[in-house]
Symmetry: C2
Amino acid sequence: MSGLSIGQVAERTGLSVHTLRFYEREGLLAKPVRRGTAGHRVYSEGDVDWLGVCIRLRASGMPLTDIRRYTELVRAGQGNEVERLQVLREHRERVLAQMHELNECLKLITHKVAVYEGRLGLRDNVTDCAP
Amino acid sequence: MSGLSIGQVAERTGLSVHTLRFYEREGLLAKPVRRGTAGHRVYSEGDVDWLGVCIRLRASGMPLTDIRRYTELVRAGQGNEVERLQVLREHRERVLAQMHELNECLKLITHKVAVYEGRLGLRDNVTDCAP
DNA sequence: GTAGAATCTAGAGCCGACTCTAGGTCAAAC
DNA sequence: GTTTGACCTAGAGTCGGCTCTAGATTCTAC
């Protein structure tokens, strides 16, 4: 598949061109991005896919250093599957914990929303049992 | 009931005393904390409960400025329930979006974990269909 | 009454994750 | 042939959310 300019990748991924360069500097890309004429970056579809993974990991709260670590393992090639698994499993635990926390928060908010709706008479009255 | 020192509150909430003072400066407490002899803070159970709410909101990604805004509404007393509801509903939307995102991430990780387990022969072989 | 721990204020420092600036190269459109 | 716009590098700046320091005061236990 052809090759994409940094601007095109920015558009596709939703990251800014600044952030794309920053991520590269930070070692988040599996392989150094290919360069075309005049040193311009040329991204492959694979690069974009990998960025998609990074974005997901970031969105779920994985710090850049951990993503870099994982990337380094992938870059190093076969033989370190155990470490990769460890990174992934640890992150999965954090994600699950975070989901649990979000659920608790959701309960709190839903309760409070019900209380205020009650006060406003939008629904049957509900009495607040703080907090 | 009595009253709690900042150190005791730190222990109960898991926040540091630094953070407790910081939160107060930032206007996150519903009412200014009572002061005892020599100006030492004396927290009520209500203060601790409110801090619990703040902690939940923070843990679910609400920025301090939004928590302050909500706190100000509560402090202002009755009559602004509509605005409070708005703040809460908006945050609920963000929380739901975040949960959705986390779920997507979880799927990705679970898939990758399965792939690596497969490669390691811990389970039946699974072939990776990138990304 | 004195040592050591806890508290106070004001303000500086730090960290992660971007975000932007300055100054420059290059290609294509007019 | 020059202007416009996308791209380049290196490095500085910003922002949110803490976290810590300094220097003073006060409580607690001996």
